[in-house]
Symmetry: C2
């Protein structure tokens, strides 16, 4: 009896060792290809330099859709197609300026601002009013309404430098940008300025989406550089009062037709069960959307190429989704999830890359069943030679979130690169191709391809 048990153990151990060795060699070959023959850096250069910023509904977004579709077609996948959606269209407009007025300290000083996405404009002569500085939305309700009535409210809470994960620091401040206007208007404010969401103290304004909710009345909203937010704060403290003129010609237009772009390799065993890798093709209308989310787009396209070129035959259908409209509506993410649910197509796994093209650190895991988390964590040894060490439970990504809302048995991952530099560039004119390091980008694509391989080969049972 013991003899057989021993034999079984030997057989099991040796087949496990063999699988481990085979997997480690396969993953090594994925990284080798990415690092010596990678296409993602060249793809990103094209997307950033030939197309550039690509806000939903813009001509550049259309160019990006065409480019994405052609780039996927060039991989000789089994299917490449578009998924039609309607996207909100918002235009920044030519007139976008703000000035500090009549300050003893600085005189009349132009500020660096960017209207927030979705903001209404101002009258042509702008809005001239006193600025009142607050540190939070909550502060609005603790002070007399007269403090805000007829004023421009500056939401000035800085990102917490102590948080090591900069996305946590962003999460602790983004309510000011998203909800500042719709809350301040309730107290009679005439406009809002929001301190740019960056750790840096500099002259760059960082835009982003805002929301008016259903309050009815709307006021203009703009991000202001951290330098200028600090200047206003100083003037208020030293002079007792800071007057600002804010002038914006931004506006919303009717929704437009746009597309998610999808490419897939049909699964050999379970063609109707889908593994998704995605990023978002749209960007803000400033900079070049290099890290946000050009990097994610070229990560996903490159991961498809790496899997395809490796000769590996996936069991599940591997689907790359270049989502449209993550930045100001997430219409692409919602539409994808709705159509998948309507078709009753089983969504097995989804992975998003939307945290930039930096050096890989690991994956966040969003799973309903704890055993899926453990399974993913059990593969960490295969990826540790490539610098991956984080496998923590957490949020996976905006574009894929609706998939889980429709089908909670899907397990999801967010690719986590090093986060320290991300908010230097995010949503600003600094988010350009030159800030992306080729090797860091390539390592990310290989890490994503490797995770997809492991999920396809060793993942949990379908439910």
């Amino acid at each position: 009896m013991y003899k057989y048990i021993t034999l079984l153990i030997v057989l099991f151990t040796s087949s496990f060792s063999f699988a481990q060795k085979e997997d480690s060699l396969f993953i090594r070959s994925i990284y080798d290809e990415a690092l010596t023959n990678g296409k993602c850096y060249g793809n990103l250069e094209y997307l950033c330099k030939e197309i550039g910023a690509r806000l939903s509904g813009s001509p550049q977004a259309d160019l990006a859709i065409n480019w994405g579709e052609q780039t996927l077609k060039d991989l000789n996948l089994d299917k490449v197609y578009r998924q039609e959606i309607l996207v909100p269209v918002w235009k920044r407009g030519q007139r976008e300026r703000a000035n500090i007025m009549d300050s003893y300290l600085v005189g009349n000083k132009p500020m660096n601002i960017k209207a927030l996405g979705g903001s209404i404009g101002t009258p042509p002569k702008g809005i001239t009013a006193e600025v009142v500085v607050v540190e939070s939305i909550q502060e609005l309700s603790t002070r007399p309404e007269s403090d805000f009535s007829g004023k421009i409210v500056l939401f000035n809470r800085p990102m917490d430098a102590k948080l090591i994960d900069t996305f946590s620091a962003y999460g602790g401040c983004v309510d000011q940008r998203w909800a500042g206007a719709k809350e301040a208007v309730k107290y009679g404010a005439v406009a809002v300025l929001v301190r740019s969401l960056t750790h840096n103290t500099d002259e760059h304004a960082h835009t982003g989406v805002m929301d008016y909710g259903d309050y009815g009345q709307k006021i203009p909203a703009a991000a202001v550089s951290t330098d200028d937010a600090n200047a206003i704060n100083q003037i208020v403290k030293k002079e007792g009062k800071c007057m600002v003129n804010l002038s914006l010609s931004c506006s919303s237009l009717p929704d437009a037709v746009s597309y998610n772009v999808i490419g897939e390799i049909t699964g050999s065993e379970k063609p109707d069960s889908v593994i998704i890798i995605g990023g978002h093709l749209d960007s803000w209308d400033v900079g070049e959307g290099a890290h946000d989310d050009g990097a994610g787009i070229v990560h996903c396209i490159e991961a498809m190429r790496l899997i395809k070129e490796s000769g590996y035959k996936p069991r599940f259908t591997i689907r790359c989704v270049l989502f449209m409209n993550e930045e100001n509506g997430n219409r692409g993410g919602k539409k994808y999830a709705e159509e998948a649910a309507a078709k009753k197509e089983y969504q097995y796994f989804a992975l998003e890359s939307d945290r930039g093209g930096f050096s890989p650190r690991g994956f966040s895991i969003d799973a309903t069943l704890e055993e899926d988390v453990y399974k993913i964590q059990s593969w960490s040894g295969l990826l540790s030679p490539y610098g991956l060490h984080l496998y923590k439970k957490g949020y996976a990504g905006v574009d894929i979130k609706p998939i889980k809302e429709k089908q909670d048995t899907v397990t999801m991952c967010g690719f986590i690169p090093d986060s320290q530099r991300y908010f230097d560039y995010h949503h600003s004119d600094k988010d350009v191709f030159e800030t992306v390091n080729q090797r860091e980008l390539e390592l990310g694509a290989a890490s994503i391809a490797s995770m997809i391989y492991l999920v396809d080969k060793y993942g949990w049972e379908s439910r």
Copy 2:
């Protein structure tokens, strides 16, 4: 009896938990201070922008010594002093150019080169010769001597992009730069060009130290940009021959007096046993020596400040050494080790930061006794919240290497930041302040201070 054992276990466990909690809070306070009130980024800006490149024996190196001494004095340490050394003096000279000549493909094309540190110059009209391309020093001995006699040898082996640790890729190629000239001269070569040690394909030449050994005859040596190395290779392949004119006016001068700069906090229990943290104050004479090794210098100064400001009273003497002349002689490192040995002063631990100011990954550990490695690894849980995950045995640093040669009971660590971008900048005009991210730099300083705290508080017994 069991009662007492249980009580002992409870007491032990609770005191251990208490210590763990105390340590985690202390380390948290170190990172908080570095991230919210850090001085290292401002210090680096001064060192790079007000002083700049600072090759041993240059007036800028003298300015850096004065600045380092004053900056340490401003920390109110127990002692700040200099350690006199003699350093080699090498000057690049005004004349530094190379041209591809009479190529059908490119005509007469100027190349981007930098003389290697220590190289002799050429005659005023330069050296004009055919270039022969080799992939290794070994290749010299496998081909007929006539292939090299009277020729300029281009050592063209690129860094291996597949190696995840870029320092390993560097280690696999640096022999071409260090020994290329002294080997090629034996085969009759009249000069050498060395492909720049970088992963990038671009127009920047990366210099570095070379050695003539004791062969007697010397030939000039220069680094050539990867773009130009590729161009030469193409011309040789397509035209059969590539002629180059190389003209350098670099030269060596007599040794000069220079200094290591040292600041220390006297140990409360073991003042004669020393914990060293160091980087090197000299840099190459191109760029600003921002990552190499301005970052290491300001890391170490900041770690001293963080320990001092924390109020922690170290048991051992904590000594910050700003070493001179790492780049072309390591005279500072050698002198430090010699003097410590002559004084029979016990060197308990040494840590070097000389891999740039990037996001922290961990520490390499160079210990004679395995138990010290395990002890350091046992602290990893305290540093994992800050992104540190590597604690591997390996080389600690050039400056501190002589300490171990004199006293092999010293345990040493090298700080390991993410390595992907380092060789984009290394020894080139691209190694400037702007390439350093403030948070990444600050996290490094806090990581080093935390490791010093743990070694001081919980380290092994003195031997």
